[in-house]
């Protein structure tokens, strides 16, 4: 069993499909993730993100398609692929019998990796588990259990780290520590695949993103390019007083009132400028208190492609 990744992409998914009770949850997904990338899998609840991860890691059996991890087929060469992957599942699952330190040592052994006390200690300290290292799992708080799960995914030094909603329900401190740590291990060559509901995090962290909806990939691109596709910017104008209607000449900017007409939101196309809107408002004698422009974000891309916001609420 090789511990070293081979040439080729870190993860290559071809025509992956999976159904449960006649419902297709992963529908002909194909993705290619290069070595050293931080890759985001985004999508509303039920989009098929976790099932895709389960198919990659072997927790679920695929019905069609193939998965290659650093060139190894995850069915034929399952020992090699699993050795190369570290996964943090979305659900908190812990074996209550063992304390943190010993559990990490056991997990390292499961992957055929001799215990490295220095690395184990580094994980424990970085993730703030130091004071709890001798505690049994059932005595840890929810946040600490999630920290342990991150450490567990990393203890055998995987080349491909998969994080399924790693920051769901964790405090700001851990979130920051976790992303710093992810950035650090990426620098050392680890490829990272993550799912998150926090689109700002994905926008900051990911080199590329695949957006999934109803089991299908609806977009794959670099974060920058995805955002570029949304050409419209938003102009938000706070007026001196409430106005029920804006001049008809502003109709092309798709005006929308907020706060009983005190605030108006305008949508600007690629060739439209904020100044045009402001000029019309001035000429109509409307006093302007404050102005804000908003560039498109991943959230806009997400809404545009899925019709849902990151919390899964319908937005179209």
């Amino acid at each position: 069993m090789s511990n070293k990744p081979t040439a080729g992409p870190a993860l290559e998914i071809s025509h992956l499909s999976k159904s449960y009770s006649g419902t297709t949850v992963v529908d002909d997904i194909s993705l290619c993730i290069e070595k050293g990338e931080i890759y985001g899998l985004l999508g509303p609840n039920g989009a098929g993100k976790s099932t895709t991860i389960n198919l990659i890691t072997g927790v679920a059996k695929m019905q069609a398609g193939s998965v290659r991890v650093f060139g190894y087929d995850n069915v034929r060469n399952y020992r090699e692929t699993r050795r190369l992957i570290g996964v943090m599942h979305q659900e908190v699952v812990i074996d209550p019998f063992f304390p943190v330190g010993r559990a990490l040592k056991i997990h390292s052994g499961y992957y055929g990796v001799k215990d490295d006390p220095a690395w184990r200690e580094l994980l424990i300290e970085t993730l703030g588990l130091g004071p709890h290292a001798d505690k049994k799992m059932h005595r840890l708080s929810g946040g600490m259990k999630r920290r342990f799960m991150v450490a567990k995914a990393l203890v055998h030094k995987p080349s491909l780290l998969i994080l399924d909603e790693p920051t769901a329900g964790v405090d700001v401190e851990l979130r920051r520590a976790l992303w710093d740590f992810v950035a650090l291990i990426r620098k050392e060559g680890t490829t990272v695949v993550l799912t998150t509901h926090y689109l700002e995090e994905a926008q900051q962290m990911c080199d590329r993103i695949a957006i999934l909806n109803r089991g299908k990939v609806v977009a794959v691109d670099s974060t920058v390019n995805l955002v570029k596709h949304i050409e419209r910017r938003t102009l938000k104008v706070w007026l001196d007083g409430p106005v029920q209607e804006v001049p008809p000449s502003l109709a092309e900017f798709l005006p929308a009132a907020e706060e009983q007409g005190r605030v108006w939101r305008f949508s600007l196309g690629a060739n439209q400028r904020s100044g045009q809107v402001l000029k019309i408002l001035y000429s109509e004698g409307l006093g302007i208190r404050e102005v804000e422009t908003h560039s498109p974000s991943l959230e806009d891309v997400f809404v545009n492609l899925t019709g849902l916001d990151s919390a899964g609420r319908a937005r179209r």
Binding site: M1, A60, R79, E91, V93, F98, G109
Partner: protein, 254 residues
Amino acid sequence: MPYFLPFWTLLNKEVQRWFVSPIQTLIAPMITSSLYLFIFGLSLGKRISVGTDITYIQFVVPGLVLMGVLNNTFANSSFSLFMSRYLGHMVDLLVTPIGPAQFIIAYTLASILRGLVVGGAILFISCFFTTLPLHAPWLAFLMAGLASFMIAQLGIIAGICSDSFEAISIYTTFLLLPLIYLGGMFYPISILPSFWQGLSRFNPLFYTIDGFRHCLVGVGDAPIAMSFMVSGAISIVLFLWAAALLSSGYNMRK
């Protein structure tokens, strides 16, 4: 090392798991067996004849030892697997390079070890109540190991197939205990009417209990060779069944 270490780690963990709860895994069965020895050995046993050269307490000790072995082996393999699935941490094993063969051998060995340790402890306690003739002790040890192997496979099957505590208790209450109690643990089947004697010979645990007793105290209803053959054949069938379940990922890989 890359193949052995995952297996060794799993085996070690499974042994530690029962070793860290000695009251439940060791002390409780020893106390139960001591009560049986007191009741059937020192009180009722004096009034019961089994029609052989040995006393009733000498007859019943091998049955009690093997009952301890079988119950604890089954409890270990079935509950460990079931609880891992029930609590969800089975997923931690499913994503590791541990293959089905390593998995089944580690769970089996950890369970056999627990069964034999408990059996040994009961045998030790029985020394305070009686002295056994010790007919063929190494063969007896082999039979205890074989019986334990057989029941470990049944435990693995139960642990995989059960989806609730109720389901797993069905295996214990409606399968294992009746088979143990009706397998000649407390009586020689030769004292039964011919119909029940014939029926008892369809009980696979009769061959393990009788064979173990035959090896240990030199008294049995079936030839030792036959006991080994039947127990071995059933062990192989159960092992293949458990291996097929594990390899297919039944009830484990979604």
